[in-house]
């Protein structure tokens, strides 16, 4: 019997799991996919928002500003890349400059520090490739970027290192019982017993709420499509560039990522399910808007395109509360942007204000907040690398040529918490296959290393879980 069971292995579930692992509790995370971080948390912009955008007094505003402050330390403890690159909201007319004033006011009310209005010259100094049509910008020095999947995986990995349990391929379809004695069932007949449940199921959050009789939670999906450019163009911009929000919406952003790629997007399109296909219209609109924001966008360096689906609530704010009908159930849903930024603050609040009411929280003496990543191998000094290669020669064998990822790192990703069991899972942990050739050269080798490390035949290795097998059979 677990004390708490979290449903959904995104950044919210992961951050809560990690925070709860500080305490003397038996905790478990259920995820329907073959790996964690398969929902919104893997396909978003990765921006640590400053917090001037959210309505004054909203949960979004509160957790955004707090989360923004917590993020540098949170990322550092977990060994995740975070860069405080600063954000710029760019105005293209004098009306838009007025909107920037409003944004600045709102930001100050939300508690955002250091907001500054820049004229064109100051803007061009910061971003030489900005469009000739840009007239000025709002500069938010506290804006940052983080790698969203690294963060989610690291939070869950650190929680597991501290005793939390992860069960993947567990698609929750039924919840029975009362506080102190729930049973959670999966689609394929597994079950987990737990005293309390936290619903962090992203787009699946409404369904989980309905399972405990909470039909007042209403969620919708809004798809966002992206284009990603090669690191070769990584210096094209250094800040995160937003359009000034208008009645028609927020437009797209142009930003560097922590791995020095350039990300363009997202679009916004209502969808009825979690389908993350890209569309020609969507990608064209990204291109069109990127070309409005900047001059000479290096689109010839495109390496991939993808999409994510935001799960928003009909309150247009986060829902972070106890169930109105069932004691022992906590909902953390409708967490659209700035949910990634807010994650550490939401985790703290849920623990100290909601879980605290249900359990007596006692800190563990041996909690270790530090997670040591080794996918920074290529950033070590030659001497440090040689030290490692001496005892583990697999680190001398480069598998992914574009990102220079070694066999040692891939084996470790397969073994380490949370274990990577497929090609995409290895990719999110190591970056093998994320470079300019997109796995063209290394995929067969990565597949072999997974097969060998897990002791399974190559035909059972998948791209992203059940049904996505890479090869079908042996040749004749």
């Amino acid at each position: 019997m677990y004390d708490l069971t979290i449903i959904g292995g995104g950044v919210i579930g992961g951050s809560i799991l990690r925070n709860l692992s500080r305490y003397d509790l038996k905790i478990c995370l259920l995820e329907k996919e073959d790996d964690v971080c398969m929902g919104q948390s893997k396909a978003n912009s990765g921006i640590v928002h400053a917090g001037f955008d959210a309505a004054v007094g909203s949960l979004k505003a509160k957790f955004n500003v707090l989360g923004n402050e917590m993020m540098p330390d949170f990322a550092k403890e977990l060994g995740v890349k975070y860069v405080n690159n600063g954000s710029l909201v760019v105005a293209f007319s004098f009306e838009e400059m007025k909107t920037l004033e409003e944004l600045r006011e709102r930001g100050i009310k939300n508690g955002v520090k250091g907001l500054e209005i820049l004229d064109r010259e100051e803007l061009v100094n910061k971003e030489p490739n900005i469009s000739d049509e840009a007239v000025g910008a709002l500069f938010a020095p506290t804006g940052g970027i983080v790698c969203p999947y690294e963060l989610t995986i690291a939070a869950i990995g650190n929680a597991m290192d501290n005793g939390a349990v992860l069960i993947t391929n567990f698609d929750v379809c039924k919840i029975d019982g009362e506080f102190g004695n729930f049973t959670v069932y999966s689609q394929d007949g597994q079950k987990v017993e737990t005293k309390a449940v936290i619903n962090c199921a992203g787009l699946g959050g409404q369904k989980i709420a309905e399972l405990v009789g909470d039909d007042y939670i209403k969620l919708g999906g809004r798809k966002g499509e992206y284009i990603l450019l090669d690191r070769e163009s990584g210096d094209f911009v250094s800040h995160t560039l937003f359009f000034t929000p208008t009645a028609k919406g927020k437009g797209i952003l142009v930003s560097q990522t922590v791995d020095k790629n350039i990300i363009l997007g997202p679009t916004a399109e209502e969808v009825s399910d979690g389908d993350t296909s890209t569309s020609a219209d969507g990608l064209n609109s990204v291109i069109e808007k990127a070309n409005k924001m900047c001059k000479n966008v290096p689109l010839y360096n495109t390496i991939t395109s993808f999409a994510g689906v935001r799960a928003y609530s009909d309150r247009h704010d986060f829902i972070i509360e106890e169930s109105k009908n069932k004691k022992g159930v906590i909902h953390c849903v409708g967490i659209e942007s700035p949910g990634l930024t807010s994650a550490p603050a939401i985790a703290k609040y849920v623990t100290e204000n909601l879980v605290d009411k249900l359990f007596d929280l006692r800190e563990k003496k041996d909690f270790n907040p530090i997670r040591k990543p080794d996918y920074f191998f290529k950033n070590l000094s030659d001497d440090e690398k040689n030290e490692i290669i001496k005892t583990s020669p697999e680190y001398g064998h480069i598998i992914c040529r574009c990102e220079q990822i070694t066999e040692g790192e891939i084996i470790r990703a397969v073994k380490e918490n949370p274990p990577a069991k497929n090609i995409d899972a290895v990719k999110r942990r190591t970056r093998a296959g994320m470079g300019r050739c997109q796995g063209g050269f290394c995929q067969p080798q990565v597949a072999e290393i997974i097969a060998e490390t897990l002791g399974i035949p190559l035909t059972e290795v998948t791209k992203s879980g059940k049904g996505s097998n890479l090869v079908l059979e042996r040749t004749k």
């Binding site: 495109t302 063209g440 079908l472 042996r474 040749t475």
Partner: protein, 416 residues
Amino acid sequence: MMNYDIVVIGGGPAGLAAAISAYDSGAKNILILEREDKLGGILNQCIHNGFGLTRFKESLSGPEYAYRFIEEVKNRDIDVFLNTTVISLSKDKKVTAINSENGVFTVKAKAIILAMGCRERSRGALNIAGSRPAGIYSAGTAQKYVNIKGYMPGKSVVILGSGDIGLIMARRMTLEGAKVHAVCEIMPYSSGLKRNIVQCLDDFGIPLYLNHTITKIEGKERVTAVEISEVDEKRKPIKGTEMRFECDTVLFSVGLIPENELTKNAGISLSNRTRGAIVSQNRETDVPGIFACGNVLHVHDLVDFVSEESELAGKSAADYVINGEKEHNSVNCINGKNISYVLPQKIDTDLEENVKVFFRVSGTFKNCTFKLSCGDKVIIERKKKIAVPGEMETLLITSDKLKEIDGDLTLSLEGA
């Protein structure tokens, strides 16, 4: 730090031929660094025949062709490090590499030959709409699964792009029992060799749809179907022309890109035409003592030309080591009308030898004329019955013609 006269980066056909030729031209202290566990490069996965028709006057498989060069290397006192990846290269010719035995180490060379080959353009580079399930491969990745690993990536296939690797994989997958529904090509012509279209598609009844592209990929876990559409002159899909094929696999054969990360690393200038280094006729880059050859320089369709070019680079590197830096008295050689690129981009005019110019045309042309001119002066004119982008063309400038040159050269295709 280790010291060598010449370090060759890459042990594919280019690196092998360059090392052999450098050795035979008098350089003796030579090292080849190769990332894979054997020499031969991409040829190891090209098990079909058709290699060496020009050079050996016989039809060899890729591994057979490579074997001849590997044996020649073995017969000479040339050092080879396998399983060794070069991770950086500096202008002062220090090569840093990594392997399991030596860890990270640096080699100082007097001359360097770049022979890293190329990589395939991926689906991602094309912004093709749809889902991102398993079953989408570059043709070369599929080739590796089938020919090297011995596994079938799929049974029901659509191929985008009519590059040679795609054409060869259409035949290979068919022979292995898969159904290849279609090859579609966005351009009005194929980028592959004529002989490959005949032998790999026509002989097996596989349809080639010119002026077509994939407009959508369907499937959640694994590919279930693709939609292809005809395109207009601007290469934009025409609504209403969609065709849908159920399939479990999509192969992309949409172009090769020279692998020039190390080249950039060393501050060598690249051509935005070839996406390889800018070189003189001796295959020297603009960093003296660093040479380049093979697919890292420009994408070749026939390995025979790779070998020829690499021998030239090897000889030049040996010359550099033995006789020191050469001064270049060069003019630029520029691609003019209907020509997509020219190589070498720089030609010395004070030579006593002939210079062979390689180039590609930018469309399909019949009864046309190649014209090499220097200002208003026409240096060479040659008629051509048919010219296509998929086949590399050559033009020979003899040493006496070189003497007529007193300014930059332009190569163009006229009468089209």
